[in-house]
């Protein structure tokens, strides 16, 4: 794991692998990384907004739990973005198949599950409040 982290910060090693690719592919890989980073920043921003703009919820600390979950998810997406970028760059230079990833599917399902839970919480509160 530390080896992988060291590799992210060592561009010289990445450049020593395989063939220099068509620069368009490197630029496309970089834009994909940036799109994931914006996804990460949006999650972090969502967590920060939840913490300060949402009124306290009836369930104790639910607001803080939502905020911390979004913040940690954002951090995880950012780290995974670097890892995926480095592995893709490696694959492009070596002419291998691009790395497959379950992460987008897992993230989508986790966010959908969170949304469904909150919808249920809102409905329970609306019905219970009458």
């Amino acid at each position: 794991m530390w080896e992988a982290i060291r590799r992210w910060f060592d561009p010289a090693e990445l450049r020593s692998i395989g063939e220099p690719p068509d620069y368009r592919f490197s630029l496309a890989n970089e834009r994909t990384f940036l799109a994931w980073l914006r996804t990460a920043l949006a999650l972090v921003g969502g967590g920060l907004a939840t913490a300060q703009f949402l009124p306290p919820l009836p369930m104790s600390h639910l607001r803080e739990v939502i905020a911390v979950a979004l913040l940690l998810l954002g951090g995880a997406v950012a780290i995974r973005a670097v890892d995926h970028w480095a592995r893709t760059e490696r694959a492009i230079r070596l002419g291998e198949e691009l790395p497959a990833s379950r992460f987008p599917a897992v993230l989508a399902l986790a966010l959908a599950a969170g949304a469904v839970l909150l919808v249920v919480a809102v409905l329970v509160r609306a019905i219970g409040g009458q």
């Binding site: 490197s26 914006r38 951090g75």
Partner: protein, 101 residues
Amino acid sequence: MSTGRDPGLQPERTRLAWRRTLLTASVVTALAARLASAGDPVGALVAGSTVVVWGALLALCWPRATGTGPARTGGRTLPLVALGTVGLALLGVLLVLRRLG
């Protein structure tokens, strides 16, 4: 077009992607600084830290967002920008936990 290459568009699109990322990071920093500024010394310190992280992100992204000529790709900038994002997330967690205590 006989060559399949497009020297202009790819670097331009990447430059715009860096700008969008920098804008998003600026909004997130503003949200973090707002959450931090509770008026006490610790809050001011954390608010200051978010601004320092934003300054680092600005310095990192600026050459990529405004660069002319052949675009550079990859390098240490990418992991460092991701690290800045993780830093903002952790500062956010710290702020949320502090408000609980």
